[in-house]
Amino acid sequence: MALHLKIITPMRTAVDTEVASVLVPSVQGEMEVLPGHADIIAAMDNGELTYRPVQGTTQSVFIGGGFLQVDGEQVMLVTDTVLEAHEIDTDSVEEAVAKAQEAYRNQSSVLSREESTHLAAGIARQLAMLEYRRKKHL
C-alpha cells in the first residue's frame, strides 16, 4: 500500500508521486505520515519536508507553511512556497533577512500590527530557509 503525495502551490504542482512515507513539519512538531494514517487536516510550519518514494531514494524540499490534508491514501499539501535546496540562493536570502530585520527594528512604531506580523512571518520563513540550506550542504 502506498500513499499518493501531492504538493500544490499557486505556480505549479511541485510533487505528484507515490510515496511510502512523508515527514512533515507541522506547527506542533514533526509528524510522519505512513499508509493507514488517520484522516487529518493540519497546519504546517516553515521547514523541511521529507518523503520516501516507493522507488528511489529519500527526497526533501523546503516548504513555507501551508496545510496538510490526509484523506485515506491521498496526502495533499497546499502551500505558498516549495523550494529545493539548490533553488535557495543563500546570499540573496541573507540580504533580504538583514533588510527585513532592519525595517522591523527601526519602524516597529510606525508599522501597524498586521504589517509587523507579516514582516516577522517573512523573516521567520527566510531564516528557516537558510537553516534548511545549511543543513543540506554541510
Binding site: V27, I41, G72
Partner: protein, 289 residues
C-alpha cells in the same frame, strides 16, 4: 474617382496601421501565454484549498465560524468589476458591462480593477467607491489595498455580501463573463470550486484537526479568500490578452484585404489615366491630319 495620389496615401496609412496592429498582436500573444499559464496553474491551487476547506467545514459541527463567513441581512452589496486598463480587446469590456447591467443591483457599491469601465458605470449612476490598476504580473503588494478595503467593509458590517464579476478564461477564442460570490464564504461555493479540478473527493467528515479548529479556520479562510480574488484577476488578465490578440489578428487581416482592394482601385485608376492620355494623343493626331 479618387485621384491616384489620394489612393496612394490611403494605402500607405492602412499599411502603417496594419503594422501597428501586427505588433500589438505579437505582444498580446506573448503576454497571453504567460497570463494563461498563471491562470490555469492557479486553478489547481484554488481547488486544492477549497477541498481542504470543505473537509474542514464538514468536520466542524459546533458551528465555529470566522467573521468572514457570517451571513447577515443588513448591509449593502459590494461588487468588484474586473475589467481592463486598456482598450483594443474586442468586445471584452462591453460584454462584461452588459452582464453587469443585467445581473448586478443598481444600489450596490462598486470597485473596479482596471479603469476601462469606470465611465460607463458612472453614466449608469452606479456608485463607484474605488478603482484599482493592477499590473500584468499581479503582485501581492498591489492587491493589498483591495483586500483591506473589502475585508474592513465586510467585517465592520457595511457590506453583507461581496461579489466579483470577471471574464472567465475558457480558451483563446472564448471568454465568458461570470459572477462569483467572494464573501461570505459558503459551503455550496466551496463545493463548486473544489469540483473544478480532478482531485478525488468523497464526503468525509472525520478529520482530526491540528492544532485546533479555530486556528485552522482563521489561517485558511483569509488565504482562500485572498487567493480567490487573485485567481479571478489572473483569469481577467488571461482573457484580456487573448481577446486582444484575437482582435488585433482580425484587424491585421482586415487591413490586408483593404490594401488589396485599394491596390486594385489604384491600378484601375492608373490604367484609366493612361487610356485617357492615349486617347488625347490620338485625337490630337487625327485633328492634325
Amino acid at each position: 474617382m479618387a485621384s491616384l495620389r489620394d489612393i496612394k496615401r490611403r494605402i500607405k496609412s492602412v499599411r502603417n496601421t496594419s503594422q501597428i496592429t501586427k505588433a500589438m498582436q505579437m505582444v498580446a500573444s506573448a503576454k497571453m501565454r504567460r497570463a494563461q499559464e498563471l491562470a490555469l496553474k492557479g486553478r489547481t491551487y484554488m481547488s486544492a484549498l477549497a477541498n481542504v476547506l470543505k473537509h474542514l467545514q464538514d468536520t466542524l459541527t459546533d458551528g465555529a465560524a470566522s467573521p468572514l463567513m457570517e451571513q447577515r441581512e443588513k448591509g449593502k452589496k459590494l461588487i468588484i468589476v474586473v475589467s481592463t486598463d486598456r482598450g483594443l480587446c474586442g468586445g471584452l469590456n462591453s460584454n462584461l458591462f452588459k452582464e453587469v447591467l443585467q445581473k448586478c443591483d443598481a444600489d450596490a457599491d462598486y470597485i473596479t480593477v482596471g479603469v476601462k469601465l469606470n465611465a460607463q458605470l458612472a453614466r449608469c449612476g452606479r456608485n463607484l467607491v474605488a478603482s484599482f490598476t493592477i499590473g500584468d504580473t499581479v503582485e501581492e503588494a498591489e492587491l493589498k489595498p483591495i483586500f483591506q478595503l473589502v475585508r474592513k467593509g465586510f467585517t465592520d458590517g457595511t457590506y453583507n455580501c461581496v461579489e466579483v464579476i470577471y471574464q472567465k478564461f475558457i480558451n483563446v477564442m472564448v471568454q465568458r463573463p461570470e459572477l462569483m460570490k467572494l464573501l461570505p464564504l459558503s459551503q455550496e461555493d466551496l463545493v463548486k470550486v473544489a469540483a473544478q479540478d480532478d482531485i478525488e473527493d468523497e464526503d468525509n467528515a472525520n478529520f482530526l484537526l491540528e492544532p485546533d479548529p479555530k486556528t485552522l479556520l482563521n489561517a485558511i479562510l483569509p488565504l482562500y479568500f485572498g487567493h480567490q480574488l487573485v485567481q479571478m484577476i489572473l483569469e481577467g488578465k488571461a482573457s484580456e490578452q487573448s481577446a486582444r490578440m484575437v482582435a488585433m489578428k482580425a484587424a491585421t487581416e482586415n487591413a490586408k484585404t483593404l490594401i488589396g482592394e485599394l491596390t486594385l482601385e489604384y491600378n484601375k485608376a492608373r490604367q484609366t489615366q493612361i487610356t485617357n492620355e492615349l486617347l488625347e494623343i490620338t485625337t490630337a493626331m487625327k485633328a492634325m491630319e
